[in-house]
């Protein structure tokens, strides 16, 4: 029972973590909570399903293309909505982010309708719905393993991009001191676009995985997931990428344990209680580095 809850929580947590890194990276470079990030996640799921049903593409190809489309949407979102406000007070950009969230949600409602859709399971490779491992009462499906592999693979890739590439280092430099970064010859807007693309791609992957996992997608699915992932990012320490990963997993596990042992009605309540506790005890988050990054 406990093992099963842990597996479910880990699955959910890795998905939260994928979304949370998008919040935290964008916050790192432009100190903006991109509330429309949840909608990019939702678009990822819809793009993928549309590419499968309307264009007849195989699952993996559709997934890859949907992720690329979302990366481009992220860049466009920044250029259209946030770039003109770069020198404006932060509150203006924040309200714009909420506005873009509502706008994208309603755009999706117009395009795809308000009814939730099932994921076209026929397009999925057959093995995904089989049990990979059964030990007593604990079961692990191939789909869960697929989610683990993709999520962990994406995180490792993200870590390498941030720490081993020139653009990734420029991203970290920009997050630490924008003026100094510009004085190095770094094209600040290009690096910000890159950050949006990277975060949006991760979010899109999460959206697709969730749609497959729960076998459903709907235009407002980005809202709750977005709020939860934002909570995970804050929990881990906003601005810290490893923090977002840890925060996502902690939140997912807390939620699954809360649902399993208390009541599934308290699922969200337990998650938020954990977040509040961490924020009260450690305001900069689990891995938040208040001092050195801003010195």
């Amino acid at each position: 029972m406990l093992e099963q809850q842990l597996i479910n929580g880990l699955t959910l947590g890795l998905i939260y973590a994928l979304i949370a890194v998008g919040y935290t990276m964008v916050y790192g470079v432009i100190q903006l909570i991109n509330f429309a990030h949840g909608e990019i996640y939702m678009l990822g799921a819809f793009f993928c399903v549309t590419l499968i049903t309307a264009a007849g593409l195989p699952f993996y190809v559709a997934m890859l293309m949907a992720v690329i489309c979302c990366a481009l949407c992220g860049i466009l979102l920044d250029i259209i909505a946030y770039r003109p406000l770069r020198r404006a007070p932060r509150l203006a950009a924040l309200i714009t982010a909420i506005g873009m969230s509502i706008f994208l949600q309603n755009l999706a409602l117009i395009i795809w309708g308000s009814r939730s859709k099932p994921f076209p399971r026929a397009s999925l490779p057959a093995y995904l719905s089989e049990q990979a491992l059964v030990m007593g009462q604990v079961g692990l499906t191939w789909l869960q393993l697929f989610i683990f592999a993709v999520a962990i693979g994406m995180m490792v890739a993200l870590f390498l991009v941030i720490h081993k590439t020139r653009t990734g280092t420029a991203m970290r430099a920009l997050a630490q001191n924008r003026t100094a970064a510009a004085l190095m010859g770094i094209n600040v807007n290009a690096v910000i676009s890159f950050t949006f693309a990277l975060g949006s791609a991760m979010g899109a992957v999460a959206g697709i995985l969730v749609a497959v996992y729960y076998n459903t997608l709907y235009p407002t699915m980005g809202y709750t997931a977005g709020v939860k992932a934002f909570a995970a990012a804050v929990l881990g320490g906003i601005g810290s990428v490893p923090g977002a990963m840890v925060g996502g997993v902690v939140l997912g596990v807390a939620e699954a344990l809360g649902a399993g042992y208390v009541s599934s009605l308290y699922r969200d309540g337990v998650a938020y209680a954990v977040m509040i506790a961490v924020i009260v005890l450690r305001p900069s988050g689990i891995l938040g580095r208040a001092a050195i990054d801003k010195a």
Binding site: R166, T169, A170, R172, A173, Q176, N177, T179, A180, A181, A182, L183, M184, G185, I186, N187, V188, R289, I292, D293, K294, A295
Partner: protein, 236 residues
């Protein structure tokens, strides 16, 4: 090489630069001295296009750079070591240096320049894997200069390199500035320490509330009674 022609700049509604006209010729060290708030740093930030220019023109090697973006200005060969050093605190010393060479693609040249930087400042080699934020003030200043040199600038803008440093360290920094210049880099130096600045520079400009009020050969300014009284601490 660089010409500022009646440059004006504003912070909001406050006019920080009213009329700055100055010239830097290839191969020179030119210094800009003046009291706090005279507009010295703003002048450098206007050249680097971090502060928008509200009037006048800035011409670099015959090309109008007044409205270029900061990264374009750097690409043309003007690099700045900003006031307060602005080291990336969570990047290692080596990563800080790599960011200095961000626009360059010649790997071999970059490697060679890293070695050159470590020759100028051997302490940086020892600390190359440490986060920049853990360095002392003097080491950070060395790193800031080394980082700027990684771009192979033709014109180096230096803002208050002596600020907050012990006299011994200041001596070292100024010796390196002179050496960088003899190795072929033109320098525009902003300093509160007018004595040191005028000793190392060829020419100087005196800035007062956003205007150039005096200029000339560094030796002449150093001997000028008005300069001595206002900026070199020769009280009456």
């Amino acid at each position: 090489m660089l010409e500022l022609n009646r440059v004006q700049a504003f912070y909001g509604t406050i006019q920080a630069l009213k009329d700055v006209t100055l010239t830097v010729r290839s191969g020179e060290i030119v210094t800009l001295i003046g009291a706090n708030g005279a507009g010295k740093s703003t002048t450098l930030m206007a050249i680097s296009s971090v502060v928008a220019v509200g009037g006048g023109t800035i011409v670099f090697e015959g090309r109008d750079i007044t409205r270029l973006s900061t990264d374009r200005v750097v690409a043309l060969g003007i690099t700045q070591v900003p006031e307060g050093r602005m080291i990336f605190p969570a990047l290692t010393v080596l990563e800080n240096l790599r960011m200095g060479g961000y626009l360059r693609r010649d790997r071999a040249g970059l490697r060679a320049d890293e070695e050159h930087a470590f020759q100028l400042f051997p302490i940086l080699k020892e600390r190359r894997k440490q986060p920049g934020g853990t360095l002392s003030g003097g080491e950070q200043q060395m790193l800031a200069i080394a980082r700027a040199l990684m771009a192979r600038p033709r014109l180096l803008l230096l803002d208050e390199p002596s600020l907050g440093l012990a006299p011994m360290v200041v001596e070292h920094i100024f010796a390196v500035i002179a050496r960088i210049n003899t190795e072929g880099t033109t320098i525009l130096l902003v300093e509160q320490n007018a004595q040191m600045a005028l000793q190392v520079a060829h020419r100087g400009y005196v800035l007062e509330t956003g205007r150039v009020v005096m200029s000339g050969a560094a030796a002449d300014l150093l001997a000028d009674p008005k300069v001595r009284e206002a900026y070199l601490g020769d009280g009456t």
